[in-house]
Amino acid sequence: MYSFEPNEEQQMLIDAVSRFAANDLRPVAHDAEEEGKLPPKIISKGWEMGVLQASIPEAYGGFGERSAVTSVLAAEEMAFGDLAGTLAVMTPSLFVTPILLAGTEAQKQQYIPPVIEADWQPYTAALIEYAFDFDALDLKTTAVADGGDYVLNGEKAFVPYAKDAEAMIVYASLDGQTQGFIVPKTVAGLTVQEEPEKLMSLKALPAYRVTLEGVRVPQSSRLGGEAGHDIQPILAASWATLAAMAVGVARAAFEYSRDYAKEREAFGVKIAQKQAIAFFLAEMATEIEAIRTLTWEAAWKLDTGAEDGYQSAYLAYMGATDMAMMVTDRAVQILGGYGYIREYPVEMWMRNGRGFATFTGLAIA
C-alpha cells in the first residue's frame, strides 16, 4: 500500500517537536547565531523530548525502536525551528546511532546506555575533512592495524562539541574502506583545536578541528569489531536526516517569505498578488513537497531494507541540497533589502541552505 500519513505515534512526536521548534528553538535562533552560543537549557529541553531515546531499544537504555521514517519526520520538524539548535540537540546521535546500526552487541551494551540514560552530554563523531574534495568514501585520515591495535592519523573538521566530548567516533580509511573507531577523550595523540571552527552559519554549534597523531585504539574499538562494518547504512542514515533537515529549513524560509509577501505592499497591492512573486512561491512549495516525498520514500526503504535504500537516500540528499539553496535564496529575494538584513531570519536560512552540500556526517538521526 501507499500511504502518506504518519501513524498516531509519529504524529504525537511531530506535534511535540513542532511545539519545541516554535516555542523554544525559533525564539532564540537569532541571538544564538549572533552570539555564537545556545542557551544550555534549550539543549536539555530538546534532549528530554526523547527523539533519540525513542529510537533505541530498551536493552540499551532507550524506550523504542529505530525507524528512519520517524527520524526524518522529527528532523524536519526540529530544523524548521532552527538548524544549529537541532544539530546541537542531536549531536549525541552522531555517536549512538552508528553504534546501533553497525556496532557489535558488546559495543552497543557498553557505549549506548551511558549516553541514552543520562542528561544531554557531548558525544560526537568526526567524518568531515578539510579539503575541497572531501569524500566520505575516500578519506585522507588513515587507520593501520598494528599488533592488536589500530593507529589513526589525520585531521578532521567540523566536529561538533569535540572539545568537551567524552568520546567520539572517528572515521578513517582502513585499506581504502571507510571504517569507524570509537575514540575516548583521554587517548594520547588526539588534539582538539582551542577555538571552534568559523563557519558561514551554525555559529551557535561549537564545532572543532581535530588532529590525530599516532592515536592508538584497541581492536575492540573498531565499529563492528574485528570484522568491521559497512559504511553505507551510516551514510544513508545521515543523508536521509540531512535531506529532512533541508526540507525543514526550506519550509521555514518558504513560510516566512510567503507571509511577508502577503503583508508587504508595492504598487498598491500586496506583492504576493504579483505573479512574479506568486510563481516563485508556488515553485518553492512544489520543490519542498517533491523532496519531502522523496526523503520519506528513502527513509521507508531504509526501514524495510530495500536493495536501493542507499541509492535513494543519496538521491534524496542530493536533491535536498539543491532544493534548500533554491528555496532559501528565493526567500531572501522576496524580502528584497530586508532579506539581506540580519534582523530578519531569511539570510541565516540561506546560509544554512548552502551548507547541506557540505554537511554529510554532521547529522544522523
Binding site: N7, Q10, F132, A282, A285, L315, M318
Partner: protein, 430 residues
C-alpha cells in the same frame, strides 16, 4: 495509517501485464505511427477495447461504485470480501497511464473508452444521463468521446469562451453555435469509422453570455448531429498518433436533456463551472503520470546506452567528484522519482477522498518541468543517437512538451498552486 511506499499487489500485477502491452503493441509501432501522422493504431485500439470489455470496465475513468477500474485481471488481493481495503482506483489508473505512456503517449491518447468526454459526463451528469451516454463504451466496438473546451480565442482563459447554447423553447432543443479547436480524439469521436462505435463530444458553451462562468455548461453532441463538422486535423510537434481536431458548430440542435448540470443560470454562483474545473483536480495528476512515463522511457534509454558503453553512475560521491554526465543523470533521477511520487500522493489523496486541489496542481507543475527537462537533457547527452530518428528518443522529446501545455499549462497550474498556498481567490491573484 502509516507512511508506506509499497506498490499495492494488484497494481504491481497490472503493471507487469501492461509492460508487455507497451512493449509489444506500442513501442513496436511507435515510429510508424509518428511518421504517418493521423494513421490509426487499430491493433492497439482493438486490444485495449477487448481487454476492458473482458473485465467489464468499459472505460479508463474510475467510477464511484467500482474503485478499481483496471481493464486487466486484478489477481488476488484486489478487493476481497469481508476485508475492507482502501480504494486504489486512481492509483491504479495513474500507474496504468504511466506505463502506457512509457510505451507511447500518443497511442495512449487513442485508448478507447471516452477519455475526457466520458470523464466530464461522469463528473457532471445525472444517473439517467450517465446511463444514456456511457453505456456504449462497453459495447461491441471500441468507441471514443472527446472534450471540447478550447477555442481560437480561449485557451487557459476559459471565461473567454464564445460558443453559445440557446434554448429553443418551441422545440425544447438547445441550439449551439461556435468553433472549438484542439479537440483530442475529436475525429475518432465524430467521424464515422466502420471499426468504431458511435461517439460523442462534450462541448462547453454558455447558456447566458452575460453570466460569465456561471453560464458555462457542457453539452453532449452525438456523432452525426447536423451542423457539426470536423474542419481540420492539426499537424503537431509530437503525440502524432493522437488526432487533434477543429470542430465547427453551426446551429447544432440537441435535445434538452443533453445539458450536463442545471439548465438555468444561478447568477450568484459559479457552481456549474466549478464542477467542470473539479474534474481537473482528478485528471491533472493523471496527465502528470503520462508525462512521467515519457520521461522514464527517455531516462532508461540514456542509462542503457551509457551502460552499454561502460559508463557507470557512481552513487554516493560528492558533487565535485562526479562527472558531468553523472551529475546530469543523478539530477534526472531525482526529478523523475520525486515527480512520480507527487503523482502517487495526489491520486492516493483522491482515492481516500482527501481534498487534493493543491497536490494535484503541484504534481502537474512538477511533471511538466520534469518531463520536458529530462527528455531535453537526454537528447543532449545522447548526441547523434538522441537526434537521430533511428531511435525513439527524439520522438519522446517532442511528445514530452505537450505535458506542460495541456490540462492546464505549467503557468496556469502555478497560478492554481499560488492561490492555494496564499489563500487567494481569482480576484486577489489574477
Amino acid at each position: 495509517m502509516t507512511i508506506e511506499f509499497e506498490t499495492p499487489k494488484p497494481i504491481a500485477q497490472q503493471q507487469f501485464v501492461l509492460k508487455t502491452v507497451a512493449e509489444n503493441m506500442m513501442r513496436s509501432v511507435s515510429r510508424e505511427m509518428d511518421e504517418n501522422e493521423h494513421a490509426v493504431p487499430y491493433g492497439y485500439v482493438e486490444f485495449m477495447h477487448a481487454a476492458m470489455r473482458a473485465t467489464g470496465a468499459g472505460s479508463l475513468a474510475p467510477k464511484e461504485e467500482k474503485p478499481s477500474p483496471s481493464p486487466l485481471p486484478q489477481g488476488e488481493g484486489a478487493g476481497g470480501e469481508g476485508k475492507k481495503r482502501p480504494p486504489i482506483g486512481y492509483q491504479m489508473l495513474a500507474h496504468m497511464l504511466e506505463m502506457l505512456s512509457w510505451g507511447d503517449v500518443g497511442m495512449y491518447l487513442v485508448t478507447p473508452g471516452g477519455g475526457l468526454g466520458a470523464a466530464a459526463v461522469q463528473a457532471a451528469a445525472s444517473p439517467e444521463q450517465k446511463q444514456k451516454f456511457l453505456a456504449r463504451f462497453g459495447g461491441e466496438k471500441p468507441t471514443f468521446a472527446a472534450m471540447c473546451m478550447t477555442e481560437p480565442g480561449a485557451g487557459s482563459d476559459t471565461s473567454a469562451i464564445k460558443t453559445t447554447a440557446i434554448l429553443d423553447e418551441k422545440t425544447n432543443e438547445w441550439v449551439i453555435n461556435g468553433e472549438k479547436i484542439f479537440v483530442t480524439a475529436g475525429h475518432k469521436s465524430m467521424v464515422p469509422d466502420e471499426q468504431f462505435g458511435k461517439g460523442f463530444i462534450v462541448v462547453w458553451a454558455s447558456i447566458d453570455p452575460s453570466a460569465g462562468r456561471a453560464g458555462m455548461r457542457g453539452f453532449v453532441i452525438e456523432q452525426g448531429t447536423p451542423g457539426v463538422a470536423v474542419t481540420k486535423l492539426e499537424h503537431k510537434l509530437g503525440i502524432r498518433a493522437s488526432d487533434t481536431a477543429a470542430i465547427s458548430l453551426v446551429d447544432v440542435r440537441v435535445p434538452f436533456d443533453h445539458v450536463l448540470g442545471s439548465p438555468t443560470v444561478e447568477k450568484q454562483t459559479e457552481k456549474g463551472f466549478k464542477k467542470a474545473m473539479a474534474t481537473f483536480d482528478a485528471t491533472r495528476p493523471l496527465v502528470a503520470a503520462t508525462g512521467i512515463g515519457v520521461a522514464r522511457a527517455a531516462l532508461e534509454f540514456v542509462k542503457e546506452k551509457l551502460a552499454e558503453n561502460g559508463v557507470q553512475i557512481r552513487y554516493g560521491l560528492p558533487r565535485n567528484k562526479l562527472t558531468s554526465i553523472e551529475r546530469d543523470v543523478i539530477d534526472m533521477e531525482i526529478m523523475l522519482r520525486s515527480g512520480w511520487l507527487m503523482v502517487v500522493k495526489a491520486v492516493w489523496m483522491a482515492d481516500n477522498a482527501k481534498p487534493n486541489a493543491l497536490e494535484s496542481s503541484m504534481s502537474k507543475v512538477k511533471a511538466g518541468d520534469v518531463t520536458t527537462k529530462i527528455t531535453q537533457k537526454a537528447v543532449e547527452l545522447m548526441g547523434p543517437l538522441g537526434y537521430s530518428r533511428e531511435f525513439l528518443l527524439e520522438k519522446w522529446f517532442r511528445d514530452a512538451k505537450i505535458t506542460d501545455i495541456y490540462e492546464g499549462t505549467g503557468q496556469i497550474n502555478r497560478l492554481v498552486v499560488a492561490r492555494q498556498i496564499l489563500g487567494y481567490g481569482g480576484s486577489e491573484l489574477r
